[in-house]
């Protein structure tokens, strides 16, 4: 398969494949970060995570349409505003859902699973009724399309770079928030020992709400970012669920570093296998390997606590 190419061509292919792997890695990080926060810090599985992402995507779609109609001159910069709006809209909905539903279910993680699945059905049908069953296309500003010519032979897609930058910023932002801010300290306190945290005056219910909203907001940003590389339709969220959950569970709950490491591992494995095998087989093998490892080490890669 490699004959007939000069070494520089081969190098450039490997470079592009490496970039593809990193691209997939940032996609996984974005998908999983929101869920990891919620699951890791609160033990809540949000099966509607994909639908929150699509909410962010639809917000982007609406923003794009708005800018096209009313502010065409500023169209080039609309994307950043769209992401901000996506964050706010999803965080707001997340806070509402938490208040209405999730907070009654903290001691019953399996039940939250079912309840959020019900929520995802409702959200999907709502999208279908409001936006139609067809997928909607989100127009991107010109500067975001095309590829970045690094060398003669190496082309890096611009929106891939963009997704990476977003993923990196979010990861850094979340780290700073969780480990360097007052809010983060409170969250960690509540996770480690809720009654004690409440005893020292932390409003644990408010922290829970804020954390859930934060997780959903990040999902919204991820959804906005994905309009560049994927489809936006009522059922599009379903495509991401299994992968996202596996990344989070594989990395170990309560460990954001674990999520990142797991995203890296799974994405590299999958994209390497895709290169040498067919897509379906690569997917099946990746899933099998992840499930197999999880069976051997069920707490995930980097569980912070191994209390049984």
């Amino acid at each position: 398969m490699f004959d007939g190419y000069t070494s520089s061509e081969l190098m450039s292919i490997f470079a592009m494949q490496g970039f593809a792997g990193l691209s997939l890695f940032s996609v996984f990080v974005l998908m999983a970060m929101g869920l990891a926060i919620i699951f890791g810090q609160m033990g809540v599985i949000n099966m509607a995570h994909g639908e929150f992402m699509i909410l962010g995507a639809y917000t982007t779609y609406l923003t794009s349409g708005f800018f096209q109609s009313y502010l065409p001159g500023l169209f080039g910069g609309y994307f950043l505003i769209a992401m901000l709006l996506a964050f706010l809209v999803c965080a707001a909905l997340g806070a509402l859902i938490e208040w209405l539903m999730i907070r009654h279910l903290y001691h019953r993680p399996l039940d939250t699973l079912l309840a959020t699945w019900g929520l995802s059905l409702i959200m999907q049908q709502a999208y279908r009724s409001i936006f139609g069953a067809r997928e909607v296309g989100v127009e991107l500003p010109d500067w975001m399309m095309g590829a970045f010519q690094v060398t003669d032979l190496v082309e890096l897609p611009i929106n891939g770079l963009f997704v990476m930058i977003i993923a990196l910023s979010i990861a850094v932002g979340v780290y700073l928030l969780m480990y360097r801010s007052g809010y983060g300290k409170k969250v960690r306190a509540v996770v480690q020992n809720r009654p004690m945290a409440e005893a020292v005056g932390i409003n644990s219910a408010g922290i829970d709400r804020a954390t859930f909203a934060l997780g959903c907001g990040i999902a919204g940003i991820a959804g906005a970012a994905f309009t560049m590389i994927g489809s936006t339709g009522p059922s599009s969220g379903q495509a991401y669920i299994v992968d996202t959950f596996l990344v989070v569970v594989f990395g170990g709950a309560q460990s954001l570093i674990g999520t990142i490491v797991s995203a890296f591992g799974i994405s590299q494995a999958q994209s390497t296998m895709e290169f040498f095998l067919s897509g379906s087989m690569a997917k099946v093998l990746t899933l099998l390997v992840v499930v197999g490892i999880l069976m051997l080490r069920p707490e995930g890669l980097m569980a912070l606590k191994v209390r049984r």
Binding site: S23, Q125, R134, P157, G233, F275, S278
Partner: protein, 422 residues
């Protein structure tokens, strides 16, 4: 069996709602194409098998997915079928009877399709079923419709390998779509190497088998063949592989949401299809799909279909105008939607030729029935229940429409069991 009004829930009556004017003009021209109506023949003569036929009405069934992942594809078919029914009603109906329809939701779930088709045939006694979209839904309906001797009018282009006496296939089968497309690429674009890429299920796999055999027959090369699961969204690896292998043609049968991701990522990777290096030939992207993908992402790709919305003939212009008036100016019409539109008209022609609604009688009349007012121009039913039709190659534009660049001179004969591909 009761032939008067049934009491099944969810019955809707589709009689022209606010379309009178355009329908009247269309109806006038349609009258020329279909046989003239005498006074409506007596019910006892035209219905001897207990179908839902009265002196004034005849009931048919529409069975598509209105909910679930397939809804976005099947909506166009439902709209087309209802439009055809409205137009037929406006022009006098079938054998002097107005068409009423019972619409059921397949819910993108194949067992539900089987169940609903059983209901339509056993409880509602419909005279025809216009429905199904995926091969899986058709396969699920097939045993039911053969057992109860119904007739299904199936609109989607599909892999062939089937020929049921109870189905009329108004979409193209694989050889009509694929062989003509590959021949065009080889003769007009000098293609020598092919990369086959599809979603992982029966239609792309069978299509690629047919494509591969044909390519081998022409003495050319397949440099890659890949499948990705339905719903897959990350195509960077295969894009790199394609760049590595440098095929002349990418033969794409990716479907659904994966389509959107694939073309967006191709574009992002700097692939410009208008350069035609490589050239992308698809059998799975119609105007409906482009709406979700975005015209700017597919500019320059070629598609092999029998119908494009931009076809320049009088039938199509009227059809597009009527469709837009009924459903909105921003509607797009893909190949399957047009094929669905043909269903009711072909059924009407067969019924009138047979002088009866009985399935066995109309089946005898199918072979040779022509429809000259088809938006795609002209079609004729073959004795294998498929349609003779022309194949066209279109080039996608940024506005989401296809520009027709090639049309077969002759009608392509449908061949669902091609020699040597078995």
């Amino acid at each position: 069996m009761d032939t008067t009004e049934q009491t099944a829930g969810g019955r809707s009556f589709g009689k022209g709602l606010g379309l009178r004017k355009s329908l009247m003009t269309l109806a006038a021209s349609v009258m020329l194409a279909t046989s003239a109506q005498a006074a409506a023949p007596a019910t006892a003569e035209v219905n001897t098998t207990g179908l839902a036929v009265t002196d004034d009405t005849v009931t048919v069934g529409i069975l598509h997915s209105i909910t679930g992942t397939m809804a976005l594809s099947e909506i166009g078919s439902v709209q087309a079928e209802k439009l055809a029914i409205d137009q037929i009603n406006a022009s006098g109906g079938v054998l002097g009877r107005q068409i009423e329809y019972v619409q059921e939701d397949g819910a993108s779930d194949w067992p539900t399709f089987a169940e609903k088709s059983r209901k339509l045939l056993r409880q509602d006694n419909v005279a025809a079923i216009f429905g199904a979209w995926t091969s899986a839904s058709r396969k699920a309906i097939l045993p039911v419709i053969e057992q109860y001797n119904g007739m299904l009018y199936y609109p989607t282009f599909y892999e062939g390998l089937e020929q049921s006496p109870n189905v009329v296939y108004t979409g193209q089968e694989a050889t009509q779509q694929i062989l003509a497309g590959i021949d065009w690429a080889v003769e007009n674009k000098g293609a020598k190497t092919f990369y086959l890429l599809g979603s992982d299920y029966i239609w792309p796999r069978t299509s690629n088998k047919i494509a591969r055999k044909h390519i081998d027959k022409l003495g050319l090369k397949v440099v890659g063949e890949e499948y990705y699961p339905l719903g897959h969204t990350q195509f960077n690896s295969v894009i790199n592989k394609i760049k590595l292998r440098k095929p002349d043609v990418i033969f794409a049968s990716v479907v659904g949401g994966s389509n959107v991701a694939f073309y967006k990522q191709m574009k992002a990777a700097g692939v410009d299809f208008t350069d035609e290096k490589p050239l992308l030939l698809t059998i799975s992207v119609t105007e409906d799909e482009i709406r979700g993908i975005g015209g700017e992402n597919v500019e320059g790709i070629y598609a092999s279909m029998k119908y494009f919305q931009s076809l320049d003939n009088p039938n199509n212009k009227e059809f597009v105008a009527a469709f837009k008036e009924a459903y909105g100016d921003d509607m797009v019409i893909g190949d399957v939607t047009q094929a669905a539109y043909l269903g009711p008209w072909l059924w009407k022609a067969a019924v009138e030729k047979a002088g009866s609604f009985d399935i066995d009688k109309i089946r005898e009349e199918f072979a040779g029935i022509e429809f000259t007012k088809a938006p795609e121009g002209y079609v004729r039913i073959h004795e294998n229940h498929h349609l003779w039709s022309k194949t066209r190659i279109g080039k996608a534009q940024t506005d989401g429409q296809y520009q027709v660049v090639y049309e077969t001179e002759e009608l392509m004969e449908p061949d669902p069991f091609p020699e040597g591909y078995q």
